[in-house]
Amino acid sequence: MAELSLLKTRGLSRHFGGLKAVDDVDFDLGQGEIRAIIGPNGAGKSTFVSLLSGRYKASAGTVEFLGQDVSSLPAFRRVRLGIAYTFQITNIYTAMTVLENVSVAAQSRLKPNIFGHRHVTEATIEEEAAKAAATLGLGDMLDVVAGTLAYGHQRLLEVAMGLALEPKLLILDEPTQGLSDSEIENFKDVVRKINETATVLLIEHNMDVVMSLAERITVLDRGQILAEGTPAEISDNRAVQAAYLGEAAE
């Protein structure tokens, strides 16, 4: 691949007791890609991206981001370097309004240190937050309390918070789960738009979304990389079919 490396893992592992949720994974992600990670339930997809974002500590192995070893950095430092993570189970501030939710993320980018020299006004923070919300189509719901939003809108809010961080890498953990078909169409456009400025790593079950968005696909099974390639290569891959359909691979 000619493209520059954004993220690299070597021997990355995470064990829960005897269970090897992620087992010795070497993974490379180029800048500007849309990459999908697929795999059967329990393949270790969520654990894997949690290791990238720093939510979990790795049992072994390294994570390198833009040439820097981030393996020992806590999650919040990785976020500041540009790795944003959106949760699989909607994880928003239910008591706050949409604008307040996204403002927390916008503040993190514009004014990460409240005693820092950078002077940023409240108006700027809220403006930036409103912009991110509008990108996800939440522009006319800024004053709605997030806990009262429909589920699909909460998912979009979740992504808006990731977007407001203006990350270099946006990790989306099953973003379309529970969305309606029209919401999914809109969501695909959003991801393409995000991809103009950020690399996107997507865990996704919806194969239609994966096939139309991803440039490359990585298949995880039992904590290991089973296959990697273009959508066409992956859909022709016998081992992948076996893992999904439960046939014995020949």
Binding site: A75, N91, I92, Y93, V104, L165
Partner: protein, 318 residues
């Protein structure tokens, strides 16, 4: 008008009324109001941690006592002038808050409650153990010559009711406005984000340990400011201020008034001190009534008086 502007105007209005009350009320009630203002400062400090940041401490008597003893002992043993003794009290409680915060914030939820309680009890027992210095539960009475001080040529006498009220009012006003500033804007947003969803806040790039530590330190220092003021003003320091009951007091006041509302602590403190005052004249079992009231509040208005009003009618009242 923005929501914050409305709240600020309300605060200024409340301050104006409080200031005017000294010309209307009897001297007994002015004294009662002086106590309410100081205890409100204590509760406002507590509210920053419990109300805004969502961390329930059971050990705030320790910080109140840190301010009380740091200022009181400096005045008693070294004859430090009152103004300086007050600052020593604030600094002392700030140091204690940082150290205890660094340790206690390694825990969460119930463990955090127990650890703060444990440190606080250790501090209480220490004030008894070193009774040669602290006077133990007998306490120490500050000498009369230490009860007045000279502020830029103006002599302020702590045995005078009006002087006491106005000093308490000034400190209350400063802390109220400080709390207003601290709970809005970027800092306030961090606190409320940690309260609402700490895991998410960390994944948005905030060091939540540092955010909690800042809230803890500010909270403890304000509690200590109240302690220093109380000791110097009434000329008495004793270990009963470090007792567990004094940790429950700001919790009770904040819960009644409304955790996470700016004026809740004042309202809760005023209502509860007046209620306890009246009840203790009627019956020695007044704590039963307080207990029943707490149960009723928890069942039907868990967000306190102002918290309930905020949720129903006025979202800006936070």
């Amino acid at each position: 008008m923005t929501n914050d502007r409305k709240l600020l105007l309300l605060c200024l209005g409340v301050l104006a009324i409080l200031f005017a009350l000294q010309f209307v009320l009897s001297s007994y009630l002015v004294l009662a109001l002086t106590r309410i203002l100081i205890l409100s400062v204590f509760a406002m400090g507590y509210n920053i941690l419990m109300g805004y940041t969502g961390l329930l401490s059971l050990g705030h008597a320790m910080f109140f006592a840190a301010g009380l003893y740091a200022s009181g002992l400096a005045s008693y043993y070294w004859g430090v002038p009152l103004g300086w003794a007050f600052l020593i009290g604030i600094a002392g409680s700030a140091v204690v808050s940082v150290i205890i915060g660094l340790l206690a914030l390694r825990t969460e939820a119930v463990a955090f409650m127990i650890v703060t309680l444990m440190f606080s009890q250790a501090a209480f027992l220490a004030t008894l153990h070193f009774s040669k210095i602290t006077g133990g539960d007998q306490g120490l009475t500050l000498p009369t010559e230490a009860r007045s001080f000279d502020l830029f040529g103006l002599v302020l006498d702590m045995t005078h009711d009006g002087t006491r009220f106005n000093i308490a009012f000034t400190v209350f006003a400063v802390v109220l406005l400080l709390t207003y500033v601290a709970t809005r804007g970027p800092f306030g947003r961090q606190l409320v984000a940690v309260r609402g969803n700490p895991g998410r806040t960390e994944m948005l790039g905030f060091n939540i340990y540092i955010v909690k530590l800042m809230a803890f330190t500010l909270s403890g220092t304000i509690a200590g400011t109240a302690g220093a003021l109380y000791g110097l003003m009434f000329g008495y320091i004793g270990s009963s201020f470090a007792d567990f009951q004094n940790s429950i007091q700001p919790l009770l006041f904040t819960l009644v008034g409304g955790p996470g509302t700016l004026l809740g602590p004042l309202l809760g403190t005023a209502l509860m001190t007046m209620l306890i005052d009246r009840l203790s004249g009627l019956t020695t079992a007044y704590l039963i009534v307080v207990g029943v009231l707490l149960i009723v509040m928890t069942l039907w208005a868990p967000k306190g008086i102002l918290g309930t009003i905020r949720d129903k009618w006025a979202r800006w009242l936070n």
